[in-house]
Amino acid sequence: MQRYVIQRVIASIPVLFILAVVIFAVLRISGGDPAAIIAGKDAPQWQIEAIRKDLGLDKPIISQLGIYLKDVLSGDLGQSINSKIPVIKLIKQRVVPTLSLAIMTELLTLPISIPLGVLAAWKANTWIDRTIMVFSSLGFSIPIFFLGFLLIKAFALEINLFPAAGYTAPTEDFGAFVHKLILPSFATAVIFWAFLVRMTRATMIEVLREDYIRTARAKGLAEASVLIRHALKNAALPIVTVIGWGIAELFAGLVVTEQVFAIPGMGRLIVDSIVRRDYPVIQGAMLVIAVLQVVVNLLTDLSYAVFDPRIKY
């Protein structure tokens, strides 16, 4: 196990390296001159040159990349061009809303989608199954922001059950914190929910065809016990993979949700920085999200051992 963990961590180093290079290349080569943006519209050429020299942008692109990678390795993500605040600090301020939204979404997703997926598989090809699958297809196809608008219209503007937008820190007022997060996390949960229901149903249908399920039923076990202890446990592996994979989708979805519900999270930080061409912040925030993704992938792989005792690392 220990050896496998070390191996996997080492194997993810090249991925992280390429990741940093890709992000750097996309932002730097694709155009836009940060120096000109900082200097402002009517700045004279010499001033732009000075800023460029100050930022090290006059050096060849390869040595710029080298400096960037060295800085990243030493934990320095640079500072914002606009506010001069270190990028690390900006990210720290924004990470709590995004993570709370992500956790809340998971809390709304898992307890609903897994039982529904099991139910759909158990009642496969009946009207129950079909109804669940129709809703799942719909959830898959509806844009998050459209759903967000509909939820705001229905639950905030018409019946005033939840606030339409905004965010309160959990340390300030925990009740308001949860209250304000319910609509946004529900909007994000729907697509994730649709995805997980399909996956659970598909793997469960496959497992339910196995001989040991027939044996379990033949020896007179209660159906609930067959479904949960024999079937779901064996279907857990692909489901866990999807949950891990879905976290990546979740981050992407949160960019939109944060925009619709005006939540000051990582997604908004990135969208705002892109509008202002604040390169260091975009680079830093994207890198952090991508690293989180790599870590999630690693944890997903490791959790296989927990769900399937046959897998030993």
Partner: protein
């Protein structure tokens, strides 16, 4: 046989006339359609919806539309179905007007052009690039090692963020949006092709081709590639749906195509300001968008069941 070659005229069957040929093609099509209708009715429903949207996009100028960008402030936020009189000429705004008085119906009809063009262009680009790269990566170990690490890296950056960054830096035009969405989604399709190639290249018939001395390009194109077509079509279909959604999200976030051009995503972004008085400005483009994506997803799901039963078991 011998007699045949000697007196072909006597034994050759009558050439079918054009009418007969057409009738036989019609029979086959009808049979295939009935078969599909019985086995996969939703495939036909999805196709019908998609064809409807496609016709709407192509025929936009003659579908009783007005200039989709013409503003008319005195008649802003008119309810769907209300009659608008402008300089003596009156017309009915079937889907109402938005916050500057633009006709929602015309904008929705023209907006279909952007969504479908982006969706299908991304789908086609992805299919081509995934076929080429997937074949190379699956067949040659060295390419695999390098290419797949790059694909992993691209895949671990959240799609939408990378696309927004690309579009907002380079500037929003239709080709840029297509390129940006293609760039963030194609690695997934490469993976699909690669994994089928990995198993196909171990097949006996591929080994046989190699044994009789077929050249590698021939093996790849004639023997391996056909096996990857079914999963590739299914993946590409689902990518078309994803691309339409992503384009709408980009337009919605203001990082998409020029906001003057009518697109479903930007219409909804505009409508956000007036959502409490005029739900139709958001609801109508949203409904069209959802219906289109739903239709394409349904087609993809049914194609998967039809073309590749193995895939449907593992992915639902």
């Amino acid at each position: 046989m011998q007699q045949d070659t000697q007196t072909p005229q006597t034994y050759a069957p009558d050439r079918p006339s054009v009418m007969e040929k057409a009738a036989s093609i019609w029979q086959t099509t009808k049979y295939k359609y009935r078969w599909t209708w019985r086995r996969h009715p939703m495939l036909i429903v999805g196709m019908a919806v998609l064809i409807f949207m496609g016709l709407m996009a192509i025929l936009a100028p003659i579908l009783f539309t007005m200039d989709p960008t013409a503003v008319d402030p005195p008649n802003r936020l008119a309810e769907p179905g209300s009659v608008i009189t402008d300089e003596g000429v009156s017309h009915r705004a079937w889907f109402g007007t938005d916050f500057v008085g633009r006709d929602v119906y015309s904008r929705v009809v023209y907006g279909a052009r952007i969504s479908l063009a982006v969706g299908f262009a991304v789908g086609a680009l992805t299919a081509i690039s995934a076929a080429v790269l997937g074949l190379l990566a699956g067949y040659f170990g060295v390419v695999d090692l390098i290419l797949m690490r790059i694909m992993d890296a691209i895949m671990s950056i959240p799609n939408i963020l990378l696309a927004i960054a690309l579009v907002s830096i380079v500037g929003g035009s239709v080709p840029i949006v297509i390129f940006a969405i293609w760039f963030v989604v194609f690695p997934r399709a490469v993976r699909v092709v690669r994994s089928s190639v990995l198993s196909l290249r171990e097949e006996v018939y591929v080994e046989a081709a190699r044994a009789i001395g077929a050249k590698t390009p021939r093996i790849l194109i004639k023997h391996v590639f056909p096996g990857t077509v079914a999963p590739l079509i299914v993946t590409a279909t689902l990518i078309v749906a994803g691309a339409i959604l992503t384009e709408a999200i980009l337009s919605f976030l203001g990082a998409g195509i020029d906001p003057e051009t009518p697109a479903w995503g930007s219409m909804m972004a505009d409508g956000r300001r007036t959502i409490s008085q005029a739900i139709w400005v958001v609801g109508i483009p949203g409904g069209f968008l959802t219906l289109t994506v739903l239709a394409i997803n349904t087609i993809g799901d049914n194609l998967r069941d039809m073309l590749d039963p193995k895939l449907s078991r593992s992915e639902g």
